[in-house]
Symmetry: C2
Amino acid sequence: MKPVKVGLLGLGTVGTGVVRIVQGNQEDLSSQVGSPIHIERIAVKNCDKPRSIEIDPAKLTTDPWEVIRDPEIDVIVEVMGGVDATRQYILEALERGKHIVTANKDLMALYGNEILEKAQEKQCDVFYEASVAGGIPIIRTLIEGFSSDRIVKIMGIVNGTTNYILTKMSQEGASYDDVLKEAQELGYAEADPTSDVEGLDAARKMSILGTLGFRTNVELRDVSVSGISSISKEDILFAKRLGYEMKLLGIAESQNDEFSISVQPTMIKASHPIASVNGVFNAVYVYGEAVGETMFYGAGAGEMPTATSVVADLVAVIKNLKLGVNGLKQIVPYKNKKLKSDDDIYFKNFLLLHVDDKAGVLAKITQVFAECDVSLDSVVQQANPNNPAAEIIIVTHDASKSSMNKVLRRFEELDVIRRVKSHYRVEG
Amino acid sequence: MKPVKVGLLGLGTVGTGVVRIVQGNQEDLSSQVGSPIHIERIAVKNCDKPRSIEIDPAKLTTDPWEVIRDPEIDVIVEVMGGVDATRQYILEALERGKHIVTANKDLMALYGNEILEKAQEKQCDVFYEASVAGGIPIIRTLIEGFSSDRIVKIMGIVNGTTNYILTKMSQEGASYDDVLKEAQELGYAEADPTSDVEGLDAARKMSILGTLGFRTNVELRDVSVSGISSISKEDILFAKRLGYEMKLLGIAESQNDEFSISVQPTMIKASHPIASVNGVFNAVYVYGEAVGETMFYGAGAGEMPTATSVVADLVAVIKNLKLGVNGLKQIVPYKNKKLKSDDDIYFKNFLLLHVDDKAGVLAKITQVFAECDVSLDSVVQQANPNNPAAEIIIVTHDASKSSMNKVLRRFEELDVIRRVKSHYRVEG
């Protein structure tokens, strides 16, 4: 059988895993696709770097264009990351009729439409299972498993770094700064952790999940984002005391022709299946009109889990190649849903206020809520021995985002409120 | 666009859900497959029965052969259940070149091979996502999502009835008989619950998952089965006290060229993700060599969740139909793994013994374990005010099934042991 020839862009963590699986499971893989799979050319940063896998040095090049332009190569596996140059490589590869497997969430979140359109024009496959939630086959699940259903809500823990930090803070009562430092030492967080801890990485993944789940174009700019860097030990204690866990949740919801999408620290009911997803694990909770509650759990990153998804995509592309149907099963978003305005996005809120410790304060505060049309689930006032101000803990019923913004603006003008110490979304 | 014509066998719970989704999501579905989907003929038991959906009475027939033989029909959706007659319908439909979507675990567990072989001969699709774990797309996940990996272990809560009963027993301290009665009243358990509570239903589903996960023929007779009907309140209390939950777990494991597969009440570590799957929910935990730990959670039964999987399969069949590739992507098991002997199946065990309350008993018992080569993790002896005998609770380290059987046979001859009150597998 003529082997299928694959070009690999990048031989870092995931690339190494891909080579390991293709070499180690060659017999299994060729039983499934009907021919051997050869990794023919590999673009790397440094050809002389020592590696943990055996690679014929003649296959290595520092020039990605050499891989893209190799006429022998049928499929490009892109695991080099980056956006601008990588976009050029992918578009050129498609132009030359090569199929693409990529693990690049940044690229797919920013240029997914352009790439999928080019792929359709050229009848090529573009598969990107590994771009969201590493080893969890959530993209297949949304495209195929739930093709029959209308997805109403997607909640994702799609960033392992932040979930590791929040889990440690919750389980050990440690501070954000201490856990971040430890995570950096363990390699779970990068030296510059901004993209993870500020929620940008999760936002990119959520825009991909939203697009697939709601079958409409969800752009990265549609995602309202806030990160975990200002969460305190105290916040997590309050969450626990109220029966919640603090998680960085991506939440996408859709009804009729509208959707909302966000990433933010969220207090989620401890009994919810996603609340017990701990450490670097990822999970995506999907609620469908017909299927109801489902959840998909697994490793969100790492060499082998991510490579599992990449090679599973490669198998799918090669099966299509054998059948001559590449590019024909691509689902392009066929709906035209609009982003909801803040007036129509409803959720529960947790607020921790530092206020003057004197009579009438609670009345003034509850008055503001009433005037802004936000009804309250619970209000607790307490003294804190470490704090000269009194603390008020408020949980609202579902309130529109715009009403809550109005409340917060009114609070700025209210002299009895010293500080809105914390404000979180509440789910479940 | 010429509509795709579908014949439906059965219009019970799941069949009604299928009609509801095909009618209600027609626009979505036809956007995906490129033509309308018409349910053309429906075989029912009684044409005059009042129904909760609108159906043109002219489409109904009490004769399944009328549906099978209708030359207009492209795809047969089988949701009538049953084995022998249904097998004939399916084989004849395949003979006539019709593609099959089925939710029938009994049929697939018993005659899956025959049906898949006939499908391959006739270049037809046979999809059966709904046969295991209702709305959870676990079959797709094993075939496609993990095509690149070697699955080492599958643990499934794949029977909602028994999970409901065990959850209630655990959460409310209720007895098996009381909860079973309640489950029957609520419609969660059938009047004759044997197939559920004795683990047969779970065994059928596990044989399907084992076949797909290990890519080898796993027969129903390979599954060693025991049910939940003899679990006592006391057993569940002991489990909790030791940090476990009691679940009816299907467990399939494979190393190299061998596999083991079983269904039995199992004490699973409370911190394991599958331990907190409660009520009628199902979950399948999959451990792959590369991907590591994953879990897939959702409704295991019910009209709409099961229908979601059936219609997702229908969409897949119709997409293949449009591309002319039906029957070409069927994966037949390509490995030839052997069922492990009891000498090679290892797990931890929990034992509750009722023994004479006198000196030297513990020494005699531990001597038996030593002679049978089973090492112990913990041994606790306690008096029970309600029991004249003393109780000994033993947890073993991993021991071979044959060694444990030897221990149990030796216990029968040991006069100080009045009764082996309970014996369970322990996981995690």
